[in-house]
Each structure stands twice: as C-alpha cells, then as structure tokens.
C-alpha cells in the first residue's frame, strides 16, 4: 500500500470559511509530514513582521505521523505560531513549535482526517472550533468565555462525547497575557510563550476534535512487527516499574541537584518538597495514547488548607523550584498554585512565579516602590504572591506590566532581566533549568540556539549528567550521520572537553524536528529506549517510504532551516542567541559555590568558551557564524532556496 493520504483543514475565523485540501506527495516526502509540513504552511500563509495578536497570525496544529497507531510513546501534537512573548527590546517575536502529548486530542484529529489544522483570521465573537470527520464547525462560545480550563473542557466533553480531545485556554489567554499557555485534555500543557494568548486574540476559547475514522499505515504487518519489538524493549527497561508508579514525580534524587535554586540547604528542600511529599500526593499515573510509560499524574493533596484537592499533570518540579525561590515552605500551597494555573487561568507557572520573585526582590531593595505597584506592598509571602498572580491574569494595575513579561519590566522600570538570579533569560523567556547546578549540557544550548527558547521535545540521552561517552556515542552513531561528523562531536577541545556540546546540539535539534513530526515523545529518546534507526523503521512501515536514519536527520535539518529562515525574516541574528549572563555568575548557596562547568565537569566555562561552542554549532549547521543565519549554499543543498 502507498502512503495513506493526509489532509490540511484550513479554517479562517474571520470569514468562517473552512477548506480541506490534500497534502501534496512531494511535500510529505521533503518534510516528513506532521509538523514538518506544518512549517511549510507557516512559510506560505504567515506574512513577515505581523503582530502576534493580529488576525494575520496563524496557528498550525499538527498531530504526528505515528499518532493514533499502536506504537509506544507516539501521542504528540505540535503547534506552530508566532508567539507573543516580547523577545527583544525592539519588539520582535519569534515563531516556534511547541509539542504536547494527549490521550484524546491527537488521535481524534487523525481520526477526523485532519492531519494539519491551519487556523487564520479572528472571530468577531467568542467561539470554539469543532473538528469532525472531514470538516470543522465554528461554534459560538459566549457562554464558555470567562470559564476556567477544566470546567470548559468538562463541558465540551459533555457536549461532544467522552472521546472528544480538547485544547482550551483560561482567563489569562482571554486577557492576552503574553505567557498564557493552553492545556490539552486537562493533562498536558502546550504552547509556553503565549499560545493561549494567540488563541485569546482570535476569540478562540477551545479546539475540540471528535473524529471517528481510521488511522492507517502503509505496511501493516511490518509496522506491527517493529512496534512489537519496541514495546518489548520498553517493557524490559529496569526502571519501568518505578516510573509507572510515580511518572514525572520520579527522579527527585537527580532533580534536587540539577535544578537546585541555591537558597535552602538541600536537606531542607528534601524535607519540604522531596520524595516523601511526592509519594504522599501521587495517586497514580495517566498515560497518553499507546504509551507504556504513563508520566502524567493524578494527584491528591493530603492535609492543610487544600486537603483533598485533586488535579492532573505534573505539579512537583515546578512547585519545588518556585517554592524555594519564593520561600514557601508548605508544598501544598505551591501545588495548589500550579493546579490553579493549569486548571483555571492557563498562565505559565514558571514565568509567573519568577517574575513575582524578581519584582518582590526589586521592591525589597528599593528599585520598585508603591508608586510603581499601584500602592501594593510587595511582601515575600504567599498571600501577596496570590494577589500578584491574580493581577497578572486579569491585567489589573501593576499586573498589566507583569502580563507583558520581562522586556516590559525593563522598558517600564529599567529592570534588566539579565539581573535575575535563577536559570536565566533569553529572547524574553525564562529558562526552566539553570546551567550552573545542571552543568552545560546540550539542552542548555538549545535554549539559546533555537528560535523558541524552550526544550520543545528536544531531550536526548545527554539531559542527565555524566552519561558515559559510550552511551552518547551509541545514540549519535544510530543517527546515521557521516563518520566525520561523529568524529567532530567527540574531538577533544580545551573549551568543551571530550564531548563537543555545540556540534552535538545541531543534530539534537534536527532530531527534535523529526520526533515532533512523527509525534514521538522525547522521554523514550531521553531514556535510550528508541533510537533514530527505530524511528526510520516505524516511519517507513507507516508511510511506505524507505528512509535511512541519516535521511531522517537530513529532513530534520531541512525543517530546522525553514524554521530558522522564517525567524531570520523577523530580524533574528546571532546577537539574539545570547547566553544568559547569570550562568557566568557563581551561585552562592548554603551548599557552597556552584559554577557552570562543562558536561563532564572538568572546568568552569567562561563566556569565550561558550562563544567557541556557538561558533562550532553554526559551523556544524553550515551557517554563517558571524550572523548566525543559514547560508545560500546550505539552503540550496536542502532545496530551500525558493
């Protein structure tokens, strides 16, 4: 059988027009399908330099090629948009992809015959979009506007059926808070950097999918054979038993070192937010479609003022780091805070709490006064945090500044985001990890090399410290890239040791594009359970193609270059790929001084070292290291010269 057909559903919210067209075979061949093709739609339909909140901005929703099949860990849907985060002082915005798993959404889109949902325009009134077999309806949602994410999702499931998949926004998205995100099926977040606000700007409260059709693969027998072998491999993974008990709450023993904010002693953090509190709170895991490593959590708070509160998702890491930063000792309060942001308002908890931490300190040292905050005294205490959170969600008073994020704080009050003390900021986004306690691993590099500064599904083996060279080499060799490229990654250099993070990062990003196009969850690549050659086997059996792992990487490179080109049109250059300054300032903690070291902790990295790695990254990409932009020659090689 040939490749099953795939379709683009284009909904113009301004005119109400809905059009369904087949994806041309050549486009699938060059861009894999899924988010790869999604990027070509962005290239075709998004005019340069438009305001992210204008009707001209678009949302491209792409379930992965393998979504809806019986393959371990392929539930991901990838959304591309122009994000409203203010990424530079001159007001530029990046275009990026964000990916999220689901139990219902991805498979429902595929079953509806919607492989790419392209949303343009702006509805004159609140609506939700119902994607159904072969088409879509724009449905009035005045009664849902103002509602919280969980309540709205439940209501839409009541109306559309128990198998409806839902992406919904909360009040933060409606109020155009620039760090509003969306939640899929109540369990998975999507679109850090402001997807929720883009939907809000279009008066789009939710996207619901209710397909009833089939998901087909080109070579069924072969597909099931490959899938069964991978399933067995995952089942034999020694950590699986622990993982499916705790999901994303697992791993505290590593987390407490790599994401340590450096304020409390680690023993104190252990006592307040450690394994014991996680064990007490986790009820069980929730698995995405066909996943053997369920990681989302159903949790329930025990004791305290939020006794009995239940929720979904993964509140533990976020609450633990922000709990220490804000000095909140009761984990239940912070879990409640995360839960409210996920289930009601749809605001990014990381950015919200770090902005609160920053302005509170600025108030303490007199850089902000009551005149700036509209009379509010910024006390370092939970009730004040809650007040600031509500003010941000509602864009009320001083909260209006916070709702616009880090660059607006600089514009308004001269507060430099680079002065923030944890994790660092690039392109207007605060990172979720800090390179000092976790060392300079490749994920850190993707934060400032990629157009959208968030991990976005790029995790590989190297996200944990001290993977052996043999483990990293196995993954790299299975990428199927030329031997010279493998050798360059493992050539020792004084600024990086025996593992060249800069060169590795290029391929890691290309693999991210592949994984997102296929819908593969990065937990499987991070844990060393699925490799590029496995992806090629699955992809070929599903589509009838005959690609090698190296071909996949090349397709990923093509997608990376297209994404970069679209951002170059917005004016992004090497100057924007800026390493956060805080990484070069030692973290003075109760555990001692913590400095950013290379992956194997052989030396403290200086600015010049990271600049050399950035040179290597651009060189490995075949880009101009002065501008950080693709060269004409490289684009021609990839067939992107048009």
């Amino acid at each position: 059988m040939t490749r099953p057909s795939s379709w683009i559903l284009h909904v113009d919210l301004s005119t109400g027009n809905v059009e369904r067209t087949p994806v041309e075979a050549e486009l699938n061949r060059s861009f894999l399908g899924g988010s790869g093709v999604g990027w070509t739609l962005v290239s075709k339909y998004l005019p340069p330099r438009v305001d992210p909140f204008s009707p001209e901005n678009l949302i491209s929703v792409n379930p992965g090629v393998l979504v809806g099949t019986l393959t371990p860990g392929t539930p991901k849907t990838t959304v591309i948009t122009k994000f409203p985060t203010i990424a530079a002082e001159d007001g530029r915005h990046y275009i990026g992809e964000s990916t999220g798993g689901s139990r219902y959404l991805g498979i429902a889109l595929k079953r509806a015959g919607c492989h790419h949902l392209l949303i343009t325009g702006k509805s004159p009134r609140p609506v939700y979009l119902r994607v159904r077999d072969g088409g879509a309806d724009i449905v009035p949602a005045d009664d849902l506007w103002g509602g919280g994410i969980e309540g709205v999702t439940n209501e839409l499931i009541r109306r559309e059926g128990a198998e409806a998949g839902v992406i919904a926004i909360g009040t933060a998205g409606e109020n155009l808070v620039r760090h509003a995100l969306t939640i899929i099926d109540k369990t998975n977040s999507l679109g850090r950097g402001g997807l929720g606000a883009v939907m809000g700007s279009k008066n789009l409260k939710a996207i619901v999918a209710i397909g009833t059709g089939e998901v087909e693969v080109a070579r069924p027998g072969e597909f099931m054979e490959v899938s069964a072998a991978l399933r067995n491999r995952v089942l034999e993974w020694p950590k699986r038993d622990h993982w499916i008990k705790l999901g994303l709450a697992a791993g505290w023993s590593t987390f407490k070192h790599t994401q340590y904010p450096g304020i409390w002693p680690k023993d104190r953090w252990d006592e307040l937010y450690g394994e014991k509190t996680r064990m007490e709170t986790v009820e069980d895991v929730i698995a995405c479609n066909s996943c053997l490593l369920g990681c989302r959590l159903r949790w329930k708070t025990k004791g305290g003022e939020y006794d009995g509160e239940i929720g979904f998702g993964s509140p533990f890491s976020k609450s633990a780091t922000s709990g220490m930063l804000l000095g909140v000792e009761d984990h239940r309060k912070m879990i409640h805070f995360v839960a409210d942001a996920n289930s009601r308002t749809g605001i990014d908890f990381y950015t919200t709490t770090r902005l609160i931490d920053f302005v509170t300190k600025m108030y303490e040292i007199g850089r902000l006064t009551k005149a700036d905050t509209g009379g509010l005294e910024l006390k370092r205490e939970y009730p004040t945090y809650q007040k600031l959170y509500e003010m941000t969600v509602n864009r009320e008073g001083f909260g209006d500044v916070l709702a616009d994020g880090w660059i607006r704080l600089k514009r308004e009050f001269g507060l430099d985001p680079q002065d923030y003390w944890y994790a660092g900021i690039c392109k207007g986004v605060d990172f979720i990890y800090d390179a000092r306690p976790s060392n300079f691993h490749p994920l850190m590099m993707t934060f400032f090399t990629r157009p959208r500064p968030h991990h976005g599904g790029s995790h590989t083996r190297t996200n944990s410290r001290n993977r052996t060279i043999e483990e990293i080499r196995e993954q790299v060799e299975r990428w199927g890239i030329p031997q010279e490229a493998v050798d360059r990654i493992f050539t020792e250099a004084p600024y990086t040791g025996k593992f060249n993070v800069g060169r590795y990062t290029r391929y890691m990003e290309d693999m991210m594009r592949v994984k997102n196009a296929l819908g593969l969850c990065s937990i499987y690549t991070y844990q060393g359970l699925i490799f590029a050659d496995d992806m090629a086997h699955l992809y070929n059996a599903a589509t009838g193609e005959d690609l090698s792992p190296g071909d996949l990487v090349e397709h990923g490179e093509r997608i990376s270059n297209l994404a970069k080109l679209i951002n170059v049109q917005e004016g992004f250059t090497r100057a924007d790929d800026k390493v956060p300054e805080v990484w070069f300032r030692p973290m003075e903690s109760p555990e001692g001084r913590i400095e950013m070291q290379d992956y194997y902790q052989t030396k403290v990295l200086a600015k010049e070292d990271v600049d050399r790695l950035l040179d290597d990254y651009y060189e490995e990409r075949g880009w101009d290291p002065r501008t950080g932009q693709p060269t004409t020659e490289r684009l021609e090689q990839l067939g992107l010269n048009e």
Binding site: R111, K186, T212, E214
Partner: protein, 99 residues
C-alpha cells in the same frame, strides 16, 4: 482453538487510559487503528479522569484464545485467564482500590 473458553478479566482501577487495548483490537479485527471498530468501549469519568475498558458482550471471540487486547495492555488492566468456565468476561476490583 476455535471456541475458546476463558476469562478476560478486567481490573478497572489499573487502567491508565492509553487505549492500547482498543487499538490492538481494531487492528486485529479490521487491519486499521480505530477504537470505534474494537470490541472495547472505554468508560471515562470526567471528574477524576479515571478510565475503564468495558468489553462488548457480543462480538468478542477472545481472538481464538489469545486476546490481543490483554496482550497490548501493559498496565495489566486486561488479563486473560484460560478456563473451562463459559462466562467470558469477569470484572474484578483491584485489591488496592479504595472503597
């Protein structure tokens, strides 16, 4: 075995909602992935997001004695137990379940 007898034991509280059982069933029956063409309905409690597979009483032939749904369920919410008993489906409550 043409007319297998056995128990397809459903342990609702072990279900994690991944739908693998339904995908495996539809693939075995129709050669495509489509939960609606499987012999299993997935119950969903929207408040708690708990799910439970329910086998359709008519249509399931236990795949000739090797049910693919039980094989695909890696959370052990569906378990096949060969038996002389003619009743095909048994719902059991997990010992760890709350009352």
């Amino acid at each position: 075995m043409n007319n297998p007898t056995g128990h397809l034991v459903v342990w609702p509280e072990r279900c994690r909602g991944c739908q693998s059982c339904r995908l495996a069933c539809s693939f075995a029956k129709a050669g495509v992935f489509n939960p609606a063409r499987s012999m299993i309905v997935m119950e969903r409690d929207v408040q708690t997001e708990r799910t439970a597979p329910m086998i359709k009483p008519i249509g399931c032939d236990l795949c000739g004695g090797k049910p693919v749904c039980a094989d695909a369920c890696e959370y052990e919410a569906l378990v096949y137990e060969p038996s002389e008993d003619k009743s095909k489906i048994v719902v059991k409550q997990w010992e760890g379940a709350s009352a």
